[in-house]
């Protein structure tokens, strides 16, 4: 606990100095209030290092400004001609060396603590997608995507921005408080980074590799963060929201999810069996398009010239339907920005969105694809 006392001392010291409001616990000028053991350590560590750094800077500035004010030619100050002092040089090489060695000790302890992901109480796999997160509760049979829920109208200044603008999602990650939660982090397409400032956790999500980290939340609440690695166009629009619940409530939530999953799965398999009319598919497809495709291909299907192809009168959307199904399900080999949606969307969603694209934006193909056919194509 020596670190903590030292941190308080540093905090008092630096608060006493004008302009160093950074040490204030408010998120406005400093780190967000820490909520996990690791975040507490990082918080204290930062105050110590900041305090030492500011102190050294002040000593340098003190001498520098004294010289600036007193040793001026305009005051008639004569220059003395000394140009070296071995003892002084040794002193100001050795003292900083000792200081950085001193800083390294508490930092090493925190590095080791951050990396200790052993014996967790539960494990969640976190996968970054362009541009959303997926959470799989390992061994619990619960998984879902977590998508930005801020309406487009707020982003494009057509509506008043809400309190949690850009920091709100449809399905937050829910965890129990007081439990060691291990996260396995990976990505589907490009590198993302899963970051919740209050937890002191930032772990890059690297496609093809699984990295881990952990947190144990002290108090129930909703904690918000954002993707911290440039991942393309919508990088600023894939927040992370974690809801920490008391354990009993968490268990209830988990049970609800399982029931919901069963209902959804049953509905999906029933839906997949059914044969739909063109209008039914188009209506459903428009919703799927709005959630998943609009960011690149745009609401009017015109895409972004050069970057994202137009779907209106496009060669694929107005070509043979098999090619259209293939590119939506498996992605594009030519343009890696086009994801493979097979795993991300259900058969009915895929069928609906493909049908919609062939019959919207001025496209009048009149044909459609049924969920059954999607299931067959997946085999």
């Amino acid at each position: 606990m020596m670190t903590s006392d030292l941190a308080k001392l540093m905090m008092v010291a630096s608060l006493a100095l004008p302009g160093i409001a950074i040490a204030n616990g408010e998120a406005k000028f400093g780190f967000q209030t820490p909520q996990t053991p690791v975040a507490h350590q990082i918080y204290d560590l930062h105050l110590i290092v900041l305090g030492i750094g500011v102190a050294i800077a002040l000593v340098v500035f003190l001498f520098m400004f004294y010289a600036i004010l007193r040793h001026r030619r305009s005051l008639g100050h004569q220059a003395s001609q000394f140009s070296d002092n071995k003892a002084l040089t040794i002193v100001w090489t050795a003292i900083p060396l000792l200081i950085v060695v001193g800083m390294a000790f508490p930092a090493t302890r925190t590095v080791v603590a951050m990396k200790n992901t052993s014996s967790p109480d539960m494990t969640v796999k976190v996968t970054g997608y362009q541009w959303k997160w997926r959470y799989d509760y390992l061994g619990e049979n619960v998984s879902f995507y977590s998508d930005l829920s801020t309406p487009r109208d707020q982003i494009e200044n057509r509506a008043q921005k809400g309190e949690n603008y850009l920091l709100e999602v449809d399905n937050p990650l829910v965890v129990p408080v007081g439990k060691k939660v291990r996260i396995l982090v990976t990505a589907n397409d490009v590198i993302h980074s899963w970051w919740v400032p209050a937890f002191g956790v930032k772990q890059d999500a690297i496609p093809g590799f699984v990295r881990d980290s952990w947190f144990e939340v002290d108090t129930p609440g909703i904690y918000r963060g954002q993707c911290a690695e440039l991942c393309g166009k919508e990088h600023g629009f894939m927040p992370i929201v974690v809801e920490a619940l008391p354990e009993e409530q968490y268990k209830t939530w988990l049970a609800e999810q399982r029931t919901k999953n069963k209902v959804v799965a049953a509905a999906a398999s029933a839906a997949a069996e059914k044969t739909y009319t063109l209008d039914e598919l188009k209506t459903e497809g428009e919703k799927v398009y709005g959630r998943n495709c609009v960011a690149c291909h745009q609401a009017n299907g015109q895409g972004v010239p050069g970057a994202f192809p137009a779907l209106a009168h496009g060669p694929i959307t107005t070509g043979p339907i098999a090619g259209h199904v293939d590119i939506v399900m498996n992605g594009s080999k030519k343009n890696p920005a086009m994801a493979a949606w097979k795993g991300q969307l259900s058969d009915i969603e895929l069928a609906a969105v493909i049908t919609y694209e062939r019959n919207a934006f001025g496209n009048t193909m009149g044909d459609m694809v049924q969920p059954k056919e999607i299931a067959a194509a997946a085999k």
Partner: protein, 526 residues
């Protein structure tokens, strides 16, 4: 048939072309230096304009001026253009003008190569700038070009890769030229340990460039083959590793930071003694510190990657090594302060910028030490705290050092005194607007604002607005510098040979402006 070289041949050298041909065929180090400096200032304005568009978009939450895709292109190209187009060529411009005059050499060792290394730059700059207009636009993967994102980009990415190749060739040629000049063409009696600090700064820098530019070229070439020729260096699905790119990139990228600051250290070490009217404190330790910084900077690259999930041993090594950089850097700052101590100080514009440099560089150094602490860095990585930190080191560090150097040598180069009043305005406006722009970014980063986002949550709104206002002030202030330089070239009070009474060094033994060819007979250093 060969004829022995005669004086008549030599006289022909004097008959150099004028007009456009003078610049196209320039082999004179002073002409090439001028070309470098004007080129880099142009690119500085181009990169700066991009920064202002970025800041305009970030003035308020919501999307107003540019869409996210273009925003990412602007942040990427702002970084690439400022580093490779503005800062690196500017320091080479200083090297061209100053190194021969400071070591008593008639010119650079390879004048024609010198011409070539400059004229490689405009095509590379054109590739970068015109990539905005190809299908898909410029690369939007950040200046760090991390795959797999950079593999998703359109032809703009390939143009950036080729531009980097060309700029790399130019840097390597320039470095070879500089090293050869310094090692072989010093005036008799000027031993290595008698060289001016600016020359030392460039000697270390040139070696670092030769070490790391080929590494960058390798990294972007692997990216190119991954993009087009089916290799899988950075694709896990084919047995590669995206993180390997980051290791290779930062093996270049970290030394690059010091490449951009060591010549600046050199300039500051020239300016402070001149205006303190006192010799530089601890010349030997300054030289050793520079070499130590150069060496250690090659061993710390993965501190840019603390969040990729390195093993404990890796994190600890890179944390310890990064902290170690603080020691020689501290020595330099202490030595500059000791040089000022008990001097007879006066504060003309070069000195203002030099003292301003120390002030802001120390702040950037403190945040640098904070960022070296791995657990704290993990919290700050890819936030505005990092943006604040590296702008404190780059803009306030390198750029202020270059301004100090420009005002210091401008009377020598042009033969006229610059407008001192305007120079002081330039300093104070730069200093105030710089801090207005970048100081608040520390708070944004601490509170959790990621970098490279075109839109942000509402709690970051007020500081972003302040930063945007500061940025426009800072940008417009730099036009004042352009005006001061042009005014100084056109006329002004006649500058004496020794412009500053406290200045030492061979360049001050020459008339202002120096004749086209100088030191044809080497001076002898006692």
């Amino acid at each position: 048939m060969s004829t022995p070289l005669t004086l008549a041949d030599d006289a022909e050298h004097m008959d150099h072309p004028t007009g456009l041909l003078r610049w196209l065929t320039a082999t004179n180090h002073k002409d090439i230096g001028t070309l470098y400096l004007f080129f880099s200032f142009t690119m500085f304005l181009v990169g700066g304009t991009m920064a202002l568009i970025i800041r305009a978009e970030l003035f308020q939450p919501g999307l107003q001026i540019v869409q996210p895709e273009l925003f990412n292109e602007l942040t990427s190209l702002h970084g690439l253009i400022m580093l490779f187009g503005a800062f690196m060529p500017a320091f080479v411009g200083f090297a061209n003008w100053q190194i021969p005059m400071m070591i008593g050499a008639p010119d650079m060792a390879f004048p024609r190569l010198n011409n070539f290394s400059f004229w490689l730059l405009p095509p590379a700059a054109m590739l970068l700038v015109s990539s905005f207009f190809v299908p898909g636009g410029a690369t939007a993967a950040g200046w760090t070009l991390y795959p797999p994102l950079s593999v998703q980009m359109g032809p703009g990415m390939d143009m950036a890769i080729f531009a980097i190749h060309i700029l790399g060739v130019s840097s390597i040629i320039g470095s070879i030229n500089i090293i050869t000049t310094i090692l072989n063409m010093r005036a008799p009696g000027m031993t290595l340990m008698k060289m001016p600090m600016f020359v030392w700064g460039w000697l270390v820098t040139a070696y670092m460039l030769i070490l790391v530019m080929p590494v960058l070229a390798g990294a972007v070439t692997m990216l190119l083959t991954d993009r087009h020729f089916g290799t899988h260096f950075f694709n896990a699905a084919g047995g590669g590793d995206p993180v390997m790119f980051q290791h290779i990139f930062w093996f270049f990228g970290h030394p690059e930071v010091y490449i951009l600051i060591l010549p600046g250290f050199g300039i500051i070490s020239e300016v402070i003694p001149a205006f303190a009217r006192k010799p530089l404190f601890g010349y030997r330790s300054m030289v050793f510190a520079m070499c130590a910084i150069g060496l250690i900077s090659c061993l710390v690259w993965a501190h840019h990657m603390f969040t990729v999930g390195m093993p404990v041993a890796g994190q600890l090594w890179f944390m310890y090594a990064s902290l170690l950089v603080a020691v020689p850097t501290g020595v330099k700052v202490f030595n500059w302060t000791a040089t000022m101590w008990k001097g007879s100080l006066s504060f003309e514009t070069p000195m203002l910028f030099a003292v301003g440099f120390i002030f802001v560089f120390v702040m950037g150094g403190v945040t640098g030490v904070i960022l070296a602490i791995a657990p704290v860095d993990i919290q700050m990585q890819d936030t505005y705290y990092v943006v604040a930190h590296f702008h404190y080191v780059m803009v306030a560090g390198s750029l202020f050092a270059m301004f100090a150097g420009a005002y210091y040598w401008l009377p020598k180069w042009t033969g006229h005194m610059y407008d001192e009043t305007l120079g002081r305005w330039h300093f104070w406006l730069s200093m105030i607007f710089f801090n207005l722009t970048f100081f608040v970014m520390h708070f944004l980063g601490l509170a959790g604002m990621p970098r490279r986002i075109p839109d942000y949550p509402l709690q970051f709104a007020d500081f972003n607005m302040i930063a945007s206002i500061g940025a426009f002030g800072f940008g417009l202030t730099q036009l004042l510098f352009l005006y001061i330089v042009i005014k100084c070239i056109r006329g002004g009070e006649k500058a004496p040979a020794k412009v500053w009474d406290g200045a030492t060094g061979l360049e001050w033994t020459l008339p202002s402006p120096p004749p086209h060819h100088t030191f044809e007979t080497p001076p002898v250093i006692a």
